[in-house]
Assembly symmetry: C2
Homo-oligomer: 210 residues x 2
Amino acid sequence: MTLKTADTKPPRTKPAQVRLDELMNAAQTLFLEQGFEATTINDIVARAQVGKGTFYHYFASKNEMLDALAKRYTDYFLERLEQAVDACPADDWAQKLRAWICTSITVYVETYKVHDVVYINHHHHDRSNQAKNAILDQLLAIIESGMDAGLWAPANPRIVGLLIYSGVHGATDEIIAAQATDSLPFARAVADACMRLLPSPSCSDSGLTL
Amino acid sequence: MTLKTADTKPPRTKPAQVRLDELMNAAQTLFLEQGFEATTINDIVARAQVGKGTFYHYFASKNEMLDALAKRYTDYFLERLEQAVDACPADDWAQKLRAWICTSITVYVETYKVHDVVYINHHHHDRSNQAKNAILDQLLAIIESGMDAGLWAPANPRIVGLLIYSGVHGATDEIIAAQATDSLPFARAVADACMRLLPSPSCSDSGLTL
């Protein structure tokens, strides 16, 4: 044990978590600026001002760094959705579902450049991935809670979940492509449309579904 | 002009369209079997039993061949959808929309391996592409015809079109991943759910959309 002096200086080395975050931020910035392929591990450690050994302490390869960035992005997305849902009155499942849909759209519009970089290897034929599953499960939990509360009674809740999940993603791609400045009116219109997928238990299933 | 004899043999060379189709089929088969990257132009002309000059007569590169295969696939998809819609009674727009949704799902399940090969360069961040636009336009035309006929009155028909287009695609990815043997019951359940997005003009917009 070393003797502490009164004027103890802060440690010269940063806490491991801070150093890891800075390294990941440096990689993400470079991937955004110049693309994943064009970025080397040397570029990343130079930007983060750490040695190459630090990189390899955390990641076996550039691809592993990309996987970690994708996981971090998914976690961020899930957390934003959870915060929006939790901010609604307890047991107001319609409000929670609308908040989930609107927040999905606004966060995706805010962050799509990072989304595109970190999911660069998720092609459409990569049909089952953990990020999709975690987000879909969150949505299905809201749909099921509303069913348990007697608020709605979809014939096939999983199909409704898939339609909302994929539909929201696809619809949002359109406003990203259109470079709309305010996504909120669009998000509300999408939520309005999606709510129709959840008929109240008293609602007849006949009519246009014939 | 050469003098024809009575026992004229068929020409040794095939019509240009047949030769082009065979060349494209050879490329598609090889892309499916061994992947786009691993396939060379030499492989393609060997499989099609033509000279390399024939390839370059039609295509400047392997990427141009891929673009042509993607266009052929999209045209096939659109034609299958059109046939299914045209087979419904004239002016029965609900039936036509259900046929469009069910056929989208069944054709996508049938052909997803080709879909994945020919659209290999269509990443999710490629947000505006001609194939999507052509298929979406076909769907929107059915939705608008039903509106003109007074059958339904969605608040925002384009959003409904985007939700159905993307939702059907995403929902189908799930049964492809699950390797379901019969996609028709699933397709009907998806169509049932989607039809709810189109309220009849007399329908109140209150209730769950509050």
